[in-house]
Amino acid sequence: MIPAGFEYHRPGDIASAIGILQQHGDEARVIAGGHSLIPMMKLRMAEMGHLVDLQAIDELKGIEVGADTVSLGAMVTQHELITHDGLASAIPLIREAALQIADPQVRYMGTVGGNVANGDPGNDMPGLMQCLNATFDLSGPDGNRSVAARDFYEAAYFTARDDEEILTRISIPVPGAGVGQAYEKQKRKIGDYATAAAAVMVGNGQASVAMTNLADTPIWSDAASAALAAGNVDACVAAMLDAIDPVEDNRGPVEFKKHVAAVMLRRAIARAQSRAS
């Protein structure tokens, strides 16, 4: 469990971090909380010559809760998402989901930016951000741009982010009053990724549903969301089962995963509906 050797960089601002990435090309990688990257390095499944630590960059920190929008710095930890007062009342779904990630030790270190940038289909935040219709702000050598969470994921570990770009902030529209939200996740134990997880928002004639770890990207389904908005739970579930594409692994065979996907989704819907007004 010893990673290959690397150079360690700790820039103090975004521009210098991008500079280092530019200088070393695909030899370099940013590290946030390290709780996805370091295990991969120790397994020698990820090897890079230069590690660019984002911990010292203040621009990447902080939670701002506005009337219409919540802005999360990429380096906000999962622990901060859980303990921030204003955030829990603005978008309770974030806290509910964050509490179901790993364990307290991981959440003290793991960041929201790392979680969404990682591109691992097992991560919970990408599906959550798709459900919430979040936007990711990216900074790179060519300037800044924004990509919708629903357009960000291409395949496992492949995202719309260029190698030399850094994800700086996440903007999330605050769901209107009366919107019920729920995150439901089945896992084998504390510290495990989802066997299946569902993020649901419903209310005011609108709905949004996304699921995690049931394909090589998170799955947000337009059809499923529309069906739920129309009040048709069965059609919502059917559309979602159509959209997912789970594979067999140690968590179980495909048939099982599809079954629990439907169970998680129905439970999340029921809870979200009970919270809608």
Binding site: M1, I2, A4, G5, R44, D103, Q186, R188, K189, I190, G191, D192, Y193, T195, N250, R251, G252, P253, E255, F256, H259, V260, V263
Partner: protein, 805 residues
């Protein structure tokens, strides 16, 4: 202490002897991070070893190219089988009478097998260089199924080709290791043929791994000036390791010092000898420098000893009203690429023949066939006496299967078949003499404690609710009554590599009345320093707090066979009591001399000898100790010390009644343990708090094994569960609350009546959890479903029973 105002009870309490929940003295250092484990050891000039391991489960090793690795600055050596063969060390003997490659000799037989050993100035260089060793493999067909292996033309062990005789008798096939038979085959088959009822089932106990918190490792240090080899390591049997190292290396035994420092859990994983030890010793001899090797977690799970992997075909015969008349078992045992089980020599399937369990079964037959496959070697006793968990799981499942066949309550079926209290000592059909037991008392106490009738009523209601669509959850009540066989063992039938399985204790009393005791065992978390001091305290009347306990250094401790199979208290604990009694016998003579009376005119009184009939005339042990060092006593040597080597007359047979109440979600396969009740009878209880701690830990391991933990392979022989993401270790969250309870039926042959308890909870826990899962689905037609009962497998049961609509 010389206080006459204290009552005998108060004086006894001050000793913190047997029966006291004395706090663990070890925890002072462990809770402060001040333990001293193998990886804490740093010696001057120490080098580090790292293995190159096979990515394939079965392949020919065509070529190993070391050049790129040797070119890395800081790399001192790269060893392969070719380097070891001139020393005859490219293979090593296993504890099971087989031999095992130290480094791949022409082929590899399991994924993760050791191919080359890189020695470097630090562990980072060693890890980097290991990546640069180029190995050419030629893949061979892989056998992961033992039944297929017995039919296949593929020869796994080419080195054994043509050998029809193995260490344990004839080999029937080139992938067959041994057949072990116990009991009366013809009589059992006759009973099965005539029985009112026969239940038959395949019971599989899946492959898992002890996975101790600390992995295996060692530091070998050859001093070329003195010719002495010091080997620090995570050894559960340091003395046996010294003898083995001497026998295979040719270094005289007095020139080898083996030290087991603090050990972070063993559970059987640290009994055997591993390639890392041999390579480190060789590397230290070659370089003249100390060499450290410590496995990482994946190496531990993939290559050092696994546990279980027994396919147990069972038949159980009974009368119409449930009296069991016969038991038949044929086990196919998957041993992996080499037979490296850690069992007493004459028991290639351990004590699997305890599989008649707690029941008075007049006739029985057991046969075990050991088989080679392309999996890691091992087959150790993971927190159990040799194969006792397998035996207990087998019989406790067969009882449930029979209960279904008879349409009987499984608690009642057990009750009418228990060996009765007045039948002890009990001669079992498969050859054991159970020392003592009172199963009915324990069983009734357990059923009452959990309100068994009430639970069944609640379960019946829940089934109604389920059928009415009011709930999607089922309730399972998992019953187990287990009997263990521990404390190996009598030298007449138990040895490992020819070493009799006695154990030992040496006690020295210091002039001021404190003491040091050394034992042939080694604690890995069991709290020996706490409990063995308590035995001595009660036996010789010195406070446990004034007694230091040392184990694990072969230069100072007396020879013993180590700690595993719950043998420490039954064997070394007995030696401790016997050594203490020798001291007390001498102390009696000293006291009589000091009190100027005849030896027979003094009597023992908690912490002193007093003149019979004149209790105010006494000498405390402290006074006696001092006298032993400052008085010339006619006819007595100075000093006060004793040593005892104890050869137990029999094993001990702890037992217990465990009940698990579990709720199961039929839609997701998720489970929730609502209640777990554990009644243990381990005979005399030395430290109730430590017993409770052992039970909590052991049941938690049992939960892991039953509900998810496994070493799984794909058909290519790749290990699918080599990290703790997939290998289930429960966290505090998954761990239920336990209720512990006890009865006390002392062992009649043990000096203090103690039986050993550390492993009971694993032995009894696994069937309790598994039976709970089965019990939940019994009303819907489930008879048998193999562990581990993780979510998808439970879901599959429900799905197979048509519960998903």
């Amino acid at each position: 202490m010389n206080d006459q105002t204290l009552t005998p009870e108060e004086r006894a309490a001050n000793l913190k002897g047997m029966g006291s929940s004395r706090k663990r003295v070890e925890d002072v250092r462990f809770t402060q991070g001040k333990g001293n484990y193998v990886d804490d050891i740093k010696l001057d000039g120490m080098l580090f070893g790292a293995f190159v391991r096979s990515p394939y489960a079965h392949a020919r090793v065509v070529n190993v190219n070391k050049d790129a690795a040797l070119a890395v600055p800081g790399v001192v050596a790269v060893l392969t089988a070719e380097d070891l063969s001139p020393l005859g060390l490219h293979w090593m003997p296993t504890l099971a009478g087989d031999k095992q490659m130290v480094l791949a000799d022409g082929k590899v037989l399991f994924q993760g097998q050791e191919v080359a050993y890189v020695v470097a100035e630090d562990r980072y260089i060693a890890a980097d260089a290991a990546e640069l060793v180029e190995v050419d493999y030629e893949e061979l067909p892989v056998l992961t199924d033992p039944f297929e292996a017995l039919k296949s033309d593929v020869v796994l062990r080419e080195d054994l080709e043509g050998q029809t005789e193995g260490a344990h008798g004839p080999r029937k096939h080139h992938n067959h290791i041994f057949t072990w038979e116990q009991g009366d085959k013809d009589a059992t088959e006759a009973i099965l043929a005539e029985a009112d009822v026969v239940a038959e089932e395949m019971i599989y106990y899946h492959r898992t791994h002890p996975c101790p918190l600390e992995t295996c490792g060692c530091v070998a240090s050859m001093d070329k000036v003195t010719g002495k080899l010091t080997l620090h390591g995570t050894f559960q049997a340091p003395h046996a390791i010294r003898t083995v190292v001497s026998l295979i290396s040719g270094i005289a035994e007095h020139n080898i010092r083996v030290i087991s420092p603090d050990i972070g859990g063993g559970f059987g994983n640290k009994v055997g000898a591993y390639a890392g030890y041999v390579c480190s010793v060789v590397a230290s001899i070659v370089t003249g420098r100390p060499v450290k090797w410590v496995e990482n977690r994946m190496e531990n799970l993939m290559s050092t000893a696994f546990a279980r992997d027994y396919w147990m075909q069972g038949k159980i015969a009974a009368t119409k009203d449930g009296k069991i008349t016969g038991l038949w078992c044929h086990t196919t045992a998957d041993h992996g690429g080499f037979d490296a089980c850690a069992d007493p020599t004459k028991f290639p399937a351990g004590f699997m023949n305890i599989c008649t369990g707690s029941y008075d079964i007049p006739t029985a037959y057991l046969a075990v066939d050991g088989v080679y496959t392309n999996k890691a070697p091992g087959g150790v006793a993971y927190r159990c006496s040799f194969r006792v968990t397998e035996a207990a799981y087998f019989i406790e499942r067969m009882i449930e299967v029979l209960a279904i066949k008879l349409n009987m309550d499984a608690a009642e079926l057990r009750r009418i078949n228990f060996i009765k209290a007045d039948q002890f000592p009990y001669q079992s059909a498969l050859g054991w003499e159970y020392d003592s037991g009172d199963y009915h008392t324990a069983w009734d106490k357990a059923l009452k404690a959990v309100d068994y009738e009430g639970l069944r009523a609640e379960q019946a209601q829940q089934i109604e609710d389920f059928k009415a669509g009011k709930t999607r959850k089922l309730l399972g009540i998992g019953l187990t009554h287990f009997t263990e066989i521990v404390g190996a063992g009598p030298v007449k039938n138990c040895d490992i590599l020819g070493l009799g399985m006695f154990d030992s204790c040496e006690i020295r009393i210091h002039p001021t009345g404190s003491a040091i005791a050394r034992l042939g065992t080694i604690s890995q978390g069991q709290g020996h320093a706490t409990t063995f001091a308590q035995i001595i305290a009660s036996e010789i009347g010195l406070p446990a707090d004034d007694i230091t306990l040392e184990e694990g250094d072969t230069d100072t401790a007396p020879y013993g066979l180590g700690t595993y199979g719950s043998r420490s208290t039954p064997v070394a604990g007995a030696a401790t009591a016997m050594a203490a009694r020798k001291i007390r016998a001498k102390a009696q003579m000293i006291a009589a001399y000091l009190l100027e009376v005849h030896d027979d005119d003094v009597e023992w009184d908690v912490d002193r000898f007093a003149v019979k009939g004149a209790p105010e005339r006494f000498k405390t042990m402290k006074e006696i100790a001092f006298a032993a060092y400052n008085q010339a006593i006619p006819g007595l040597e100075p000093g006060l010390e004793a040593v005892s080597y104890y050869d137990p007359p029999n094993m001990t047979y702890p037992f217990g009644a465990y009940i698990c109440v579990m709720e199961i979600d039929v839609d997701t396969g998720e489970w929730d343990v609502r209640k777990f009740y554990a009644l243990d009878d381990c005979g005399t209880r030395i430290n109730p708090m430590i017993i409770e701690g052992q039970v909590h830990g052991g049941v938690t391991e049992a939960l892991a094994i039953a509900m998810g933990q496994e070493i799984a392979y794909d058909e290519m022989g790749n290990v699918k569960t080599a990290t703790l993401m997939d290998f289930f270790i429960p966290t505090a969250w998954e761990t239920p609350n336990y209720t512990t309870d006890h009865t006390v039926t002392p062992s009649p042959h043990h000096p203090i009546g103690a039986k050993g308890v550390g492993e009971s909870p694993n032995v009894g826990g696994v069937p309790a959890f598994s039976n709970a899962v089965h019990d939940a689905f019994r009303p819907f037609g489930l008879v048998q479903s193999h562990m581990p009962h993780d979510h998808w497998r439970i879901w599959r049961i429900a799905n197979g029973l048509g519960m998903h609509g």
